[in-house]
Symmetry: C2
Subunit: 358 residues, 2 copies
C-alpha cells in the first residue's frame, strides 16, 4: 500500500532527489527540437544519423569503430560472444551482481551458451586476488565501472590497472560495462579515452546519467565491430530505424556530458546529509559518481512511512521504492541528475532536520 503511495507522492512532489525528471514523451519531443523534420531516417544501421554519432563516440573512446544498439543487454552479450568465439573459450568472469547475471533472464547462458564465473563476493568489488583464484581458462573479464548494485563503487585506478595488466598477461580480453562510464570521470579525474584504452571492448549507455530514451554504443576495433553488426542483426536489433533513440542520445549527451562533475558533487553533498542521520548510512560512504545507496537500520515499512510523511510535509520526492534487506534493515538507490540542483538548499536542510528528530 505505502509502496504505491510512495511512488505516487514522489511523482506529485515539486522537488526530487532522483534523475532528470519524469520519463515522459516530452523527453523525446525536446530531443527533436533542433532537428530538421526532413532529415532522413537511418536505414538498417546505415545513414548519417547513425554513422555520425557512432563515429563521435568511437573517437571520444579512442576506439576504431562503434555501433549503436537499442539496448546494453544486447550489446554486452554480443561483445562477450565475439570474444568467446575468437578465443574458442566459453568461460568469462564478472561480479556476482553483474547486470548480465541478475537482470537479463540468463540471456548470456540461454542464447550464447557462455559460462560465467562469479568473481569475489556480492557485497564488495572483486579484486585481483579473486581473479587470480579462478581455475578456469577465461576468454574475457567483464568489469563494471561503477559497480551499480553495491551503490556504484569503484576500484582505485591502480587496482584497475593491475587487473587489466594481469588479464593481458594471461591473454584474457577485458570488456567494460560502462553503462555509467561518463558518470565516473570526475572521480577518476580522467578522460573517457584513458579509461577505454584499458579495455578491448567498451559499452556505454545513453539513458542513465545521460538521460536519453534508450540505446547503447559498443566500441572496439574494426573487426570486432563488423562482427557485432552481424550479431546485432541476429538478435533482432538491426531495426530499419533507430533514430528516435539516436537523436535523443545525441541531444542529451550534448546537454549532460559536461554536468557529470556537478552530479558527482551533488551526490557527495546528499550522501553526507544521509550519513548525518543516526539510522542511515551510504554506500559508498563518500560517493565516487552520481550514484550511491542509502541503507536504513529500520524496517522497510517504517522507512516507507517516514519518507511518505516527509514527502507530503515538504513537497519533496525522496524515494520511489525501498528494498528490504531484512526485517530491520532496508535500502534504496539514489542517482543524481538535473532534478537535484533545483532543490532550494534551505528546504533540503529543513527536510534533514525533520528526518534527524524522528
Amino acid at each position: 500500500m505505502n509502496e504505491l503511495l510512495l511512488k505516487e507522492t514522489y511523482r506529485n512532489a515539486t522537488y526530487h532527489f532522483l534523475g532528470h525528471g519524469p520519463r515522459n514523451i516530452k523527453v523525446l519531443l525536446d530531443s527533436f527540437e533542433n532537428t530538421d523534420p526532413l532529415t532522413e531516417s537511418d536505414i538498417y544501421g546505415e545513414g548519417s544519423i547513425i554513422s555520425e554519432f557512432e563515429n563521435e563516440i568511437a573517437t571520444l573512446l579512442g576506439k576504431e569503430k562503434a555501433v549503436f544498439f537499442p539496448s546494453g543487454t544486447m550489446a554486452q552479450q554480443i561483445a562477450l560472444r565475439i570474444w568467446c568465439d575468437d578465443m574458442k573459450i566459453y568461460n568469462i568472469a564478472y561480479h556476482p551482481l553483474a547486470h548480465l547475471e541478475i537482470h537479463e533472464q540468463d540471456g548470456l547462458k540461454k542464447l550464447h551458451h557462455i559460462h560465467p564465473i562469479l568473481l569475489g563476493e556480492k557485497h564488495r568489488l572483486f579484486t585481483l586476488d579473486d581473479l587470480k583464484n579462478i581455475e578456469y581458462s577465461l576468454s574475457t573479464v567483464l568489469i563494471e565501472l561503477p559497480q551499480r548494485e553495491i551503490g556504484g563503487q569503484l576500484p582505485s585506478l591502480d587496482e584497475l590497472h593491475k587487473i587489466v595488466d594481469y588479464c593481458k598477461s594471461k591473454n584474457i580480453k577485458v570488456h567494460l560495462d560502462g553503462a555509467r562510464l561518463f558518470e565516473i570521470l570526475p572521480y577518476y579525474n580522467t578522460s573517457p579515452k584513458e579509461i577505454a584504452d584499458l579495455f578491448d571492448s567498451v559499452y556505454v549507455s545513453f539513458y542513465k546519467g545521460i538521460g536519453g530514451i534508450a540505446g547503447a554504443i559498443l566500441a572496439g576495433d574494426s573487426s570486432f565491430i563488423e562482427k557485432a553488426k552481424i550479431w546485432k542483426r541476429r538478435h533482432g536489433g538491426d531495426l530499419i530505424s533507430l533514430y528516435p533513440y539516436i537523436i535523443s542520445a545525441k541531444h542529451n549527451f550534448d546537454l549532460k556530458y559536461n554536468k557529470m562533475s556537478q552530479y558527482y558533487q551533488d551526490a557527495k553533498e546528499l550522501a553526507a546529509l544521509f550519513n548525518s542521520l543516526q539510522y542511515a548510512h551510504t554506500f559508498p560512504h563518500i560517493p565516487v559518481s552520481n550514484m550511491f545507496h542509502v541503507h536504513f537500520s529500520k524496517s522497510k515499512e517504517t522507512v516507507e512511512n517516514l519518507l511518505l510523511e516527509a514527502t507530503l510535509k515538504f513537497d519533496f520526492g525522496i524515494a520511489t521504492r525501498i528494498t528490504e534487506i531484512n526485517p530491520n534493515n532496508c535500502r534504496y538507490e539514489i542517482s543524481i541528475g538535473d532534478e537535484y540542483a533545483k532543490i532550494p538548499k534551505e528546504l533540503l536542510n529543513k527536510l534533514f532536520d525533520y528526518l534527524k528528530i524522528i
Copy 2:
C-alpha cells in the same frame, strides 16, 4: 552509377509509385501530434502506452495476449524457440525465401540452434504435398502471408486450411509471419481474426503497409506470451522505453488499416499497366495484396537507364533499385501506399505510353 542516380532522382521526383513517402523524422513527429507530452513512458514492457496497444491488437487477432517487440526478427525467432522448447523438437519448416532464412544472418540457427527445413522451391509457394514429403519430425511450420520474396503470392484459403489441418493432425504448431497480414485481408475478403484463428502464434509488423517507424507484435495464448516476454528480455529487446515505436505504430495503424483495399486496388491497376508493356510482366500477374514484383526482359543497365530517363522526363519516381536476375532479365518490388493515390491518372498514362514505345 545509374544505381545511385536512380535512387536520387526517385527521391527528388514529385510523384512516386512506392510506399507512404520519405522515411524522415516528420513521420515520427506527426505520430506524436495528438499525444499529450506529459504522457508517461512505458517502462520495461509495463504501462498503459504499451499494454493498451498490445490488448488492442490481441483483440483484433482474437488471441489471448500480445507483446510488442522492437523487431519482427526478434519476435519470430522467439516464437519458433518457444514452440521448439515446448515440443522438444528443434526442426521447423518454412519457405526457402523466408525472412529468417535470407535476411537475419542465421540468427535462428546461431542463437537458437533450430534446424529449418526448406519447403518446396524458391520461385513458388510451398504446397501441402511439399509439407507431406518432409521426413523429419517438425515442431512448427511457419507460413508467410503473402510470400514477399516471390512478389507477395498467396495460397488459396482452401489450400491454407488444408495445410493447417494437416499440421494440426500431426501435432505441428503453425506460426504466421504476418508482416503484411493487414495487406492481404481485402483479397481474402476476411478479418484478421479469421486468418489468425488458423495459427498458434501470429506476428504482425507496423512499418510495412502500416507505415510506422519500426516494431512488431507477437500474439498467442497467455502462456506463450509470458514466455515470449522472458525471451524478449534475453534478446535485449525489453527496452526501458519502446514508446517512440508504439505511438507511431498506433497512429499509423489508425490511419492506414482501412486503406488496405485502396492499396490493393491500386496495385492491381499498376500491375495491369506494367503487363501492357511487351518487355515486362508482374508476379503475381494480378496482385493479391498491395505488393508485386515487376520483371523486365531487358538488362538491369537498360532498365535503369530507361527508368532514369522516364523519371526525369515525367517528374515521376518509378523505382529506387533494380535487381539483376541474369544478364537479360531484371526485376524490382512495388509496394503500394499513400503515395500512389497522389498521382494524376493522366500523367500515369503518359508515362506508360512513353514506356510502351521504347
